[in-house]
Symmetry: C2
Subunit: 439 residues, 2 copies
C-alpha cells in the first residue's frame, strides 16, 4: 500500500487524453500536487492509502477549464454598457470609464471577483491582459489559481505606463518576479495590431524568443481592423505580424474573425494558436470565427470568455456550449465541433496555447492535479447517455461542486475555500454604487 | 387597510409593460391569483394587510418565462444523439428511438421532468407538441404550470394515431376536456408543412377559426424543407400556408430560418407569430433566423427551447441570452435585440403568440400572478448597473429562488413545492439505463 494525498472516486472521468478517453467508475490518485495514478475504483483502495478520500458517485471529473483570454478586472464593468458596437463601446463607454475609475484598488477587487467567479465555475487557469498586471498576479497567487499574466504593451499612455519603454520595463520586472512561481507565469501582451506599431512589436518578437513565453494579442477582431491595416500598412494584420516574425508557435491570436482561406493556411503554417471568444464576438457583432475550418486545418484553437464587460460572464461551461452551437451554425454542419472537441478547446488546447500542456489541460499521470468535479445528478443533466454531452450541452456551472488546482481544493461543496465571498460581494456592490452614481 | 394574499417587496421589478418599466424598491400585491397593485415598498405596508409577505432585497422580480416551443417528454432523449444534422437526427436516431420507447409512461415521466426543469428555471408556461397530449396535459395540471398543449396532426401513423381522422378526433376530445381549465389550453399542432398535406391543413384552418385557438407548427426549419416544398407544391411552405388561409394571427410559426425579404413581409402582413429557437437551430445547423429583421418589420417574435433532444436543456434564461447574442451577430449590429427586447421575446411575445397576453406575460395590474424572483446577489451578476442586463447576459437559472403561477408558489427557495424531485430523478435515471442498454 502506497501512501498518497488524495483519492477521488468518480462516476466518470473525462481524461481529455489523445483518445478522448471517458472512464467510468475510475479513481484519480493525487500525490505531491500531481496525478499519480488513474485506475478502476475497486483497485484504488487495494493499492493506495490516502490522507483524504472522496467518493463522487454521480459526478463527472474533468480537467480544470482554461480561460485563454480575459481581462479579469473588468468584471467591475459587467453590464456597464451593452448593446453597443466595438469601437463605440470602447471609445464612448469603456475607455472613459477606465480612465476615470481604474486604479490599483479597482484591479485588486475586480481581479478577485473574476478569480472567484472563475474558480466557482470550474476554471483553474486564466490568460489575462489588463493594466497593473503585478496586482492581478498577486491576486492570482493569493487565490491559488493558475494564471498567465499579460505584460501589456500599447503605443500610447494609459494609467499604467506612459510609453512602450515603460510598458516593457514594468512588464519585464514582473516577469523576473514571477520567474520561480509554479502557477503564475507571464506572457507578452501587445494589445492589438491597431494599437501597437512596428517598433514595439519588434521588441515583442525579441523578448518572446529570449524568454520563450507566449505573445497574447487581439488579432483580426473586426472587419474594420483588417481594412484599416491594409490601408495603413499595405497588409492585413496577420500578414503584417508574419512580416514582423510574430506568426509563430508563441503567438496566441485572440478573436480571429474575418479570415479568408489563405489566412487560415498562414496561421496553420505558422503553428500559432487561436483563442475563440464566441460570446464576445456575437455581443459586439464583430463577426464569426471559422472555428471548424481552423480546426480542420490543424490549428490549435482554445477558448476564452473575453472580459466580463463584453460577455457578460466568465463562464467557461457556457462559452464551451456557445462555441459548440455556433460552430455548427457557421459551418452549416451539425457534426462540426463535436462535444469532445469542444471540451479539448476549453482544456488541453488552452494549455497548449499557453505553453503549459506538459503541466495541465488533461487528466493524465504526471500532470498537475487541476481538476473539476461536476455533479450530473440534476434535473437538467439527466438521463446520462454520454457524460461529455451533458457537460457541453446541458450542465450549468452551478453543478460544479469541487475544484482543485495543483491538488489544493479551492472550491469545496460549491464554496470558495480561500476567498471570503460575502466580503467580496460587498466590495463589489460598493464599486457598482459609486460608478453608477458617477457614470 | 385592504386584506390581500401576498405582498412581495423586491429590489427591482421588470414589469415588461409597454414602456419596459423597471421599478426599483417596489412591491407587487397579489389577491385571488391576480396582481392587484404595484406600488413603492414603503406604501405597500400602509395600504395592504397580507396573509404572506416576502422581502426580496437583492432580487429581480420578472414575469414568468414562456417557452413558446418544446416537446416536453423528449427530455428523456436529452443527449441521446448529438452532433448530427436534422434529417439524419430524425430518421436514424430520434424516430427509431421514439417508435421503440415512447409510451404513456415515457410521456408522463418525460413531461414531468420537463415541467420540473422548466419551473425550476423560471418558466411558468410552455407550448408543447408531442404524442399523447392528454397525458402531457394531465401532468401540467397536476404541477400547477400554465401550458398550451398541441393537438398533434401528421399524415402518417404514429404511436398515438393511425391517420389524420384519428389525430383530429383525439385532439378535439382533449380540447373539450380542457375547455374550463384556467391554465391548460390547447392549440392545433400540425407537425410541419412536409408532414401534413393540404387536406388535413384545411381542416386545421377550419378548426382554428371555429375554436379560436393557435396553430402551432414547424415552418421553414431548413433550406431543404423550402426547396422540397417548391418542387412538390410549386410554392415555399409559407406561400403554401397563405394559399391555405393559414397565414393569419393564429399561426405560431416555429423556427423560420431561410426567409427572404418578401417572406418577412408576408408574415408581418399576415399578423402571424414566429417562435425563434436559436440553440436548436444552431445545434442542428438548420440556418439562422433573421430575428432583428422580423422584429423591425413588426412581427411578434417569441422564444422557445425546442425539445431537450436538440438543445439540450429547457433553459429559457440561456435561450434568451443565446437569442440576444446571436441576433447581434446575424444582423451585424451590436445594438440589435437589446436586453429589454430579449426579455419581451421570452415573456409577453410568447403570451401574444399563444393568445393569452390578457392573462400573462407581463407584471401589470389585473394579470395573473405568474412571477419569478431571481437573486442578483451572486458573483456572476455583480455589480448591478442594469438589472435587466444582468438577467439577460449574466444570470443563470440557478439564481431563480421563487416561482409563482396564478399566485401559487411552485418553487420556494429553489425547491419544487409540488414535485418530488428525488423520486423524479430516480425514475429518469432508470429510463436512461434502460434506453442506453437497449440503444
Amino acid at each position: 500500500m502506497e501512501n498518497v494525498d488524495l483519492i477521488i472516486e468518480a462516476a466518470w472521468i473525462a481524461t481529455v487524453d489523445v483518445d478522448d478517453t471517458l472512464l467510468a467508475d475510475h479513481a484519480i490518485v493525487v500525490k505531491d500536487a500531481r496525478i499519480l495514478d488513474l485506475l478502476p475504483n475497486a483497485e484504488a483502495g487495494r493499492r493506495y492509502q490516502a490522507v483524504q478520500r472522496r467518493s463522487l458517485p454521480t459526478h463527472l471529473l474533468l480537467p480544470g477549464l482554461i480561460n485563454a483570454h480575459t481581462h479579469a478586472a473588468m468584471t467591475l464593468l459587467r453590464g456597464f454598457a451593452d448593446d453597443v458596437p466595438l469601437m463605440a463601446w470602447l471609445k464612448e463607454h469603456v475607455w472613459p470609464a477606465e480612465s476615470r475609475w481604474v486604479n490599483k484598488d479597482f484591479i485588486r477587487d475586480g481581479t478577485q471577483l473574476a478569480v472567484a467567479e472563475m474558480l466557482r465555475g470550474g476554471t483553474t487557469c486564466f490568460n489575462d491582459m489588463y493594466f497593473y498586471p503585478e496586482i492581478a498576479a498577486s491576486v492570482a497567487q493569493a487565490s491559488g489559481i493558475r494564471a498567465t499574466i499579460g505584460m501589456i504593451v500599447l503605443d500610447f499612455q494609459t494609467i499604467w505606463a506612459v510609453d512602450p519603454d515603460e510598458y516593457f520595463h514594468k512588464g519585464l520586472q514582473l516577469h523576473d518576479q514571477l520567474r520561480d512561481d509554479p502557477l503564475v507565469q507571464t506572457a507578452l501582451a501587445p494589445h492589438a495590431p491597431y494599437t501597437v506599431s512596428d517598433g514595439p512589436l519588434s521588441r515583442v518578437r525579441m523578448y518572446t524568443d529570449e524568454l520563450d513565453i507566449p505573445v497574447h494579442m487581439h488579432v483580426h477582431e473586426t472587419a474594420h481592423e483588417v481594412q484599416q491595416s491594409v490601408e495603413q500598412h499595405g497588409a492585413s494584420p496577420l500578414r503584417r505580424l508574419r512580416r514582423l516574425g510574430l506568426l509563430n508557435p508563441h503567438l496566441v491570436a485572440v478573436h480571429m474573425t474575418h479570415l479568408d482561406d489563405e489566412d487560415i493556411e498562414l496561421v496553420a503554417h505558422g503553428g500559432s494558436s487561436v483563442v475563440h471568444c464566441p460570446e464576445s464576438n456575437l455581443k459586439l457583432a464583430s463577426g464569426f470565427c471559422r472555428v471548424s475550418d481552423l480546426l480542420n486545418a490543424g490549428v490549435n484553437v482554445a477558448l476564452g470568455t473575453d472580459g466580463a464587460a463584453s460577455n457578460n460572464d466568465l463562464d467557461m461551461l457556457g462559452e464551451m456550449r456557445s462555441a459548440a452551437l455556433l460552430a455548427k451554425g457557421v459551418a452549416r454542419d451539425a457534426s462540426a465541433l463535436a462535444v469532445n472537441q469542444a471540451l479539448r478547446m476549453a482544456t488541453i488546447n488552452g494549455a497548449r496555447a499557453l505553453g503549459i500542456a506538459d503541466q495541465t489541460g488533461s487528466l493524465e499521470i504526471g500532470k498537475s492535479a487541476d481538476m473539476v468535479a461536476l455533479d450530473l445528478n440534476a434535473l437538467n443533466t439527466q438521463p446520462v447517455y454520454n457524460a461529455v454531452s451533458q457537460l457541453v450541452f446541458a450542465a450549468s456551472r452551478e453543478q460544479v461542486r469541487h475544484v482543485w488546482v495543483a491538488g489544493q481544493c479551492l472550491v469545496e461543496d460549491g464554496s470558495l475555500t480561500r476567498i471570503d465571498e460575502a466580503a467580496l460581494l460587498e466590495r463589489t456592490a460598493d464599486w457598482g454604487r459609486r460608478m453608477h452614481a458617477g457614470g
